[in-house]
């Protein structure tokens, strides 16, 4: 089983924050990643920015009352994405078959990445990074969807760039406000 990144902000607060320079590099990295995904460069994204041991995870979160103390979802529970590299690769390869009618004409999709907080972990070269996203997706003539959420990443330094080793996505909508989530947050 792949290990989960613990969303423990308290421990993160005690962990060493990255330097201003590294913070800048990470933010620029996220902007580059977003631009690749906006431009439909999915193969470049997978080849250049994703680690072979990726766990790409979007759990199914339930709307729950405060008093409901059932544990948060684990990678063994229901999910919308629960992918390793080979699954992500199939998703990406599908987009290059020339037979994806749902994306022809393609969606216009735009990412805004913000609230980037980066910390060193016990593992040298591995960084825990929190960020928020807003994704605007326009489709067909008049369809427009907005998705907001947070990400918890494990980024691995790879020379002057980074590779994504873990991504846990918390989509704010508990009822997905779109006909599909076939895009990479």
């Amino acid at each position: 089983m792949q290990s989960d990144i613990q969303p423990n902000v308290a421990s993160a607060a005690n962990a060493p924050r990255v330097s201003a320079e590294l913070q800048h590099q990470i933010e620029q990295h996220y902007y580059t990643e977003a631009r690749m995904l906006q431009n439909g460069q999915f193969r470049e994204w997978l080849d250049q920015l994703v680690a072979p041991d990726i766990h790409y995870w979007l759990p199914v979160y339930e709307q729950r009352f405060r008093r409901d103390k059932r544990p948060a979802p684990t990678p063994d529970d229901a999910a919308i994405y629960n992918d390793d590299f080979s699954m992500l690769k199939m998703r990406v390869d599908r987009l290059y078959t020339g037979q994806v009618w749902m994306e022809d004409p393609p969606s216009r999709i735009r990412y805004s990445i913000s609230n980037v907080e980066a910390y060193h972990t016990d593992e040298p070269g591995e960084l825990q990074v929190f960020s928020n996203f807003t994704i605007q997706r326009h489709r067909r003539q008049t369809e427009h969807y907005t998705h907001t959420g947070g990400r918890e990443d494990l980024l691995r330094q790879d020379g002057t760039t980074f590779r994504l080793a873990r991504r846990k996505i918390d989509l704010d909508a508990r009822v997905v406000q779109d006909k599909n989530l076939y895009f990479f947050a």
């Binding site: 979007l58 199914v60 339930e62 063994d76 529970d77 229901a78 999910a79 919308i80 994405y81 629960n82 992918d83 699954m87 199939m90 998703r91 390869d93 599908r94 987009l95 078959t97 020339g98 037979q99 994806v100 009618w101 749902m102 067909r140 508990r174 009822v175 997905v176 406000q177 779109d178 006909k179 599909n180 989530l181 076939y182």
Partner: protein, 335 residues
Amino acid sequence: MEQRCHAQVDKKECGLPQVRVESYRGFLYGCFDADAPSLEEYLGEFGWFLDTWMIGAGNGAELLGPPSKSILDCNWKVPAENFVGDAYHVGWTHAAALEVMGGELAELAGNRADMPFDDLGKQFTTRHGHGFGVIHNAATSIHTDRAAYDQFMADQLPKVTKNLGQERANLFNGHWNCTLFPNNSFLYGTNTFKVWHPRGPHQIEVWTWTLVHKDMDPELRKKIQKGAAFSFGTAGTLLADDGENMMTCTYSNRGALTRRGTLQSTMGMNHEGPHPDYPGIVGASFIGETSYRGFYRFYKEILKAEKWDAVRAKDDSWDSTFENRDFWVNNLNTA
């Protein structure tokens, strides 16, 4: 407090409406109509088919949750009809996913294969509009990581044969696309189980669970749950294609001109009829519209019937619209 506010309401008169909740093999269904038939009567002969996996090797099946939920701007009948009988769309709509995922069904990609469709599967429809299509020996074919699942199915098969006989053992090993009328659909084999909740005529809320055999061990359940989300979850490689169709079909058919049209549902008409081995009406090919005709026949019937008694009055004659009564007798004799 209510007294001081001069409340006029007699709370005894204001309870919630009662919902009837009944179980079939552990699957719970609700109904607000006190005059409706019991669940068992409503499922009727279709229970014979459901028992294939709801009993199966003995311990039956259950759902893994929590359900993922999403909004789809389509009429509820579009996904219901898609699941009840639309195997025709598979090769074209899902060409991209089939090509990448491989497996037996990859041959369908792009509708390029010249296959003997009549030998590959069948369609079924019974009283009250329930129906499904089956592709023989293809239960696990949409899963990409399937060795353990294949082994599980092979281990179950002798027990299913012993419990239920050869016909249903064959169905157990098949892939089903199914709708229980009106709005509960599932893909047996691909393990996705859905309810299409109408939110008015032009929108539904989709709830998706994973359907597993109770005898599956925890590791296999996890694998199946992952695989089902990968293909038919909210970001599924196949489901995403369908959502687009369901929405644009609804959108296009709202136009002033398109509303003057009628639904074409004639594929495989008369290549169907009562069958000596199965209940209901059986269509000769899994790519056909036998189960569409069963679904919409009952939709029309129930819209026209003022009371359930009017529906009950047709319990013995409902299938008379399927006119080629001797299709299977003739077909099986020549074979």
